[in-house]
Amino acid sequence: MTEPVLSRNFDRPEARTLAGYQAGGGYEALRKALGLGPEGIAAEVKKANLRGLGGAGFPTATKWGFIPAKRTGPVYLVVNADEGEPGTFKDRYILERDPHALIEGMLISAFAIGCHTSFIYIRGEYVEPWRIFSEAVRAAEAAGLVGANILGSGFDHRIIVHRGAGAYICGEETGLISSLEGKKGWPKVKPPFPAIKGAFGQPTVVNNVETLAAVPPIVTRGGEWFAGLGSKTQGGTRLYSVSGHVARPGVYEASVAITLRALIEQAGGVANGRRLKAVVPGGSSAPLLRADEIDVTMDVDGLRNAGTMAGSAGVVVMDETTCIPDALHVVARFYAHESCGQCTPCRECTGWIYKITGRILAGKGVPQDPDTIVDVARRGTGSTICAFYDGAIGPYISYVEKFRAEFDHHIRHGACDVRPTPARRVGTH
């Protein structure tokens, strides 16, 4: 077991309170950071090899570096707490169990990029996390940790808590910004990128909850220490949401360099003595890995080299009883339902592919269906405004290509070879 970093307070209920958090050394990192100065903080984060933990895995220090040095208006930090990737539930733990760690991370990061107002966009369904986090913000304000002249440093910062209204697309950073601005949550056409023209037209950094929560330990113990916890190109540990057919589903903290096999074993292995069939390693958008492909490290580059992605570290384990066409249908329904509809390839093809998978499950598939799914998906790669559709393409192609025989069986026999009858009624999303 690795030493807990991000989950260090998860089992200390008192850490939710300001006093409890401070008793564990909380807000000391902030004090140290204010002394280090913005460049000093950025240097540690760079040394730490911290990469975005929301999904894209982009180096955090580099992202901060995109904020133009010459500017006239304010800079905003926006915290992406719209955790919506299917199979992912780790940010919720931070919001609920260690809210001050996030606040401290926000304050340090805001100080590093010269930001005096930050927004946190919390997923609408996360009512309890929102309540707990808001309470923590109020406590921090009351203690002078958020507000004017923080810890006598002359640094002012306020935090605005904003709740989403239940759209997956509002987790896409520019969709989130549109929604935050009071508009329909449509991703924005890039360029301009948020670092140049983001929230309310100002330079903006959008960081994930977990990414920011990793900043205080980096400041406290140094970037090199954090980098040493991970792989060559990505530092640290991260929180894995492990779900599906494992004995002990839940949130696990481990090094980013852990193998998928070891992680599944930590979660108790496949439940009920069944055999492993497939694993989604990084949230629903990550291409599927077969049981023989799980000897990979879970860092961004390790999984990219394996043809999939680290994503949000939502690990979904499927055992031998899983019907892959049915699993794809579930995923396809999600993307068809959540596509914002703004641009054509995603709007039209998510719905189309959902209909095809539904027809296959209903026993009305035609032989060319699997090829159509793969061809349509492949043609659309990289053709849209945001990464949503590329995320949908991952499962479309990998489920079909890696388990082609199951699709063909459904089409040929009108029934499943894994389960006796289709378990799901086929309808519209």
């Binding site: 697309i169 329909k184 596509s339 509809g341 641009c343 054509t344 998510t350 095809i356 053709s383 999303h429």
Partner: protein
């Protein structure tokens, strides 16, 4: 000015020009739906993909600005393949109801499918169904199934009219264009959404099912609806007389003019062409005596009016010209009534009963197209607010002949009783205009004018831009352009000037009125030219005109 190459041809464009516009300068069309030069970039249709040298994948041309040294390719295999794919995706949920769709024949789904699609359809599942034939305003019908969600109409209402009636609701392939609750699409420019809709989603309620567009002819013109002079196209149906209830003019469309109306026109102007084919059209010259009406030949009519003018003399003649008349009409009127006959009681200004609507986009309160032209040519008595002095002269019994051009004095801003009295006291009332009205009913001689779509000429708009309009259909009956009638009357009185065609009359005007100096009918071209501002030329005053 960035210099770049597109498909091997080099081009230089102003900084900030996007790749669609840059390619257009080379005659290369990058297909697109959501991009419109008058609206903000949406980047939504994904059709305008082009390849940039060294770029990993094609990118959208609408949101890419030309940059120095850029190498753009619009015809690479992967671009062509992507266009085909995007066409397929645009069409998978499209109802393909072209046979009953008004847009057929001018639909960019049809055009681009033929140019860039031509794939074998693969979609065998049920399409998404949405509301059809929904009237969303007085002029616009929505078919949400045909909509490709390009959001041009939404952006038009958000950024041009700033009325924001339209939105795209719901998500994914259930996304649907619609009205925000409690609104209707009734802004003063709503018809423009039909023009910019690239498909059959928004159709014109007035034009719907009236004619197939491939039977229509198109003529260039200028809107006569107000003093703005928006450039338009007149779409006429003469090949299928049984269509559109026999109407010859079936619709007006804006014609781009950067200096006047850009891409837009208002609804008042767009739907204001009804009089052209109305039953009220006057088709033959007519003489009314003692309660009977007799059709005249033009020779008889011209002779009758000439006799009347001779008998009435300059003191006894009243003339109410109209700013609906062209510069050529008003110039010949000036030659005849002003410079030759020396008519004292002449003007063109009859106030409307109710003030016209106006706004800061296009509409001007003056609902006639040529007030500025009339003024520059020297009409309008100095010091008088309008042409009331002509009316007063008639009421006072000083006029033996009153020649009214295209006004309904009885439906004007002047008190009806006074107009009534004036008309009763004049021995001979001549009415000249395209349509009959209450005033024409009181006239002794009625002369049929060709309507604006039946003739050519120029108008000078509120900003002093002189613009040509063209003939789109033949005159009804025996109607003639006003300047032709005036010329015939002048010749009957023994006077003649250069110009047997509109061009000649205009060039004569340009040679003699300083504001029009340097212009010629031919060089006005499609977009017109600005009059010489008073500061640059001599003072604009009728007295200052060379004889």
């Amino acid at each position: 000015m960035p210099k770049l190459t597109i498909d091997g041809q080099s081009v230089e464009v102003p900084a900030g020009t996007n790749l669609i516009e840059t390619a257009r300068r080379l005659g290369i069309e990058v297909p697109h739906y959501c991009y419109h030069p008058g609206l903000p970039i949406a980047g939504a249709c994904r059709l305008c993909m082009v390849d940039l040298e060294k770029a990993p994948r094609p990118t959208i041309a609408c949101n890419t600005q030309a940059a120095d040294g850029m190498v753009v390719m619009t015809q690479t295999p992967r671009v062509l393949e992507l266009r085909r794919s995007v066409m397929e995706w645009h069409l998978i949920n499209h109802p393909l109801d072209c046979p009953v769709c008004d847009q057929a024949g001018e639909c960019w789904l049809q055009i681009y499918y033929m140019q860039h699609g031509l794939y074998e359809p693969r979609m065998i599942d049920d399409k998404v169904h949405k509301p059809k034939a929904v009237p969303i305003g007085p002029h616009v019908m929505l078919d949400a199934e045909r909509c490709i969600l390009c959001s041009r109409c939404v952006r038009f209402c958000d950024t041009i009219t700033k009325t924001g009636e339209l939105g795209i609701f719901n998500r994914g392939d259930h996304s649907e264009l619609g009205l925000f609750p409690g609104t209707t699409l009734d802004n003063a420019y709503s018809g423009n959404v039909v023009d910019i809709c690239p498909v059959g989603a928004l159709t014109d309620r007035d034009f719907r099912f009236q004619a197939r567009v491939w039977y229509l002819d198109r003529g260039k013109s200028v809107c006569p609806g107000c003093a703005r002079g928006c450039n338009i196209e007149v779409h006429t149906n003469t090949k299928r007389a049984h269509h559109a209830q026999g109407r010859r003019v079936v619709r007006l469309k804006p014609r781009f003019n950067a200096a006047v109306n850009q891409w837009w026109i208002c609804d008042e102007g767009r739907y204001g062409f009804g009089e052209v084919d109305a039953p009220s059209r006057i088709e033959r010259p007519e003489l009314r005596e003692g309660g009977t009406a007799r059709t005249l030949t033009w020779e008889e009519a011209v002779a009758a009016v000439a006799d009347g003018l001779r008998a009435a003399g300059p003191e006894g003649t009243g003339v109410l010209l109209s700013s609906r008349m062209s510069n050529e009409d008003l110039w010949l009127a000036r030659r005849l009534f002003g410079d030759t006959l020396g008519v004292v009681h002449a003007d063109f200004r009859v106030p409307p009963r109710t003030p016209g609507s106006e706004d800061d986009l296009l509409r001007v309160a003056d609902k006639t197209p040529n007030r500025r032209g009339a003024e520059l040519i020297g009409w309008g008595r100095a010091g008088a607010a309008n042409g009331r002095h002509v009316l007063e002269a008639a009421r006072a019994g000083r006029l033996r002949l009153l020649w009214v051009f295209d006004h309904d004095l009885l439906d004007s801003g002047w008190p009806r009783a006074e107009v009534d009295e004036a008309l009763a006291r004049v021995e001979g009332v001549v009415f000249q205009g395209p349509n009959a009205n209450e005033t024409s009913a009181r006239a002794h001689v009625v002369l049929p004018s060709a309507a604006w779509v039946e003739r050519e000429g120029t108008w000078t708009n509120v900003a002093g831009r002189v613009q040509r309009f063209w003939r789109a259909v033949l005159p009804r009956g025996d109607a003639r352009p006003d300047w032709e009638i005036l010329g015939a009357v002048a010749r009957a009185l023994g006077h003649d000037w250069p110009g047997r065609r509109a061009a000649g009359v205009f060039d004569d005007l340009a040679a003699r009125v300083p504001a029009f100096a340097g212009m010629s009918y031919r060089t006005l071209g499609d977009e017109g030219a600005d009059v010489v501002p008073p500061a640059e030329g001599r003072p604009i005053d009728a007295r200052g005109v060379a004889p």
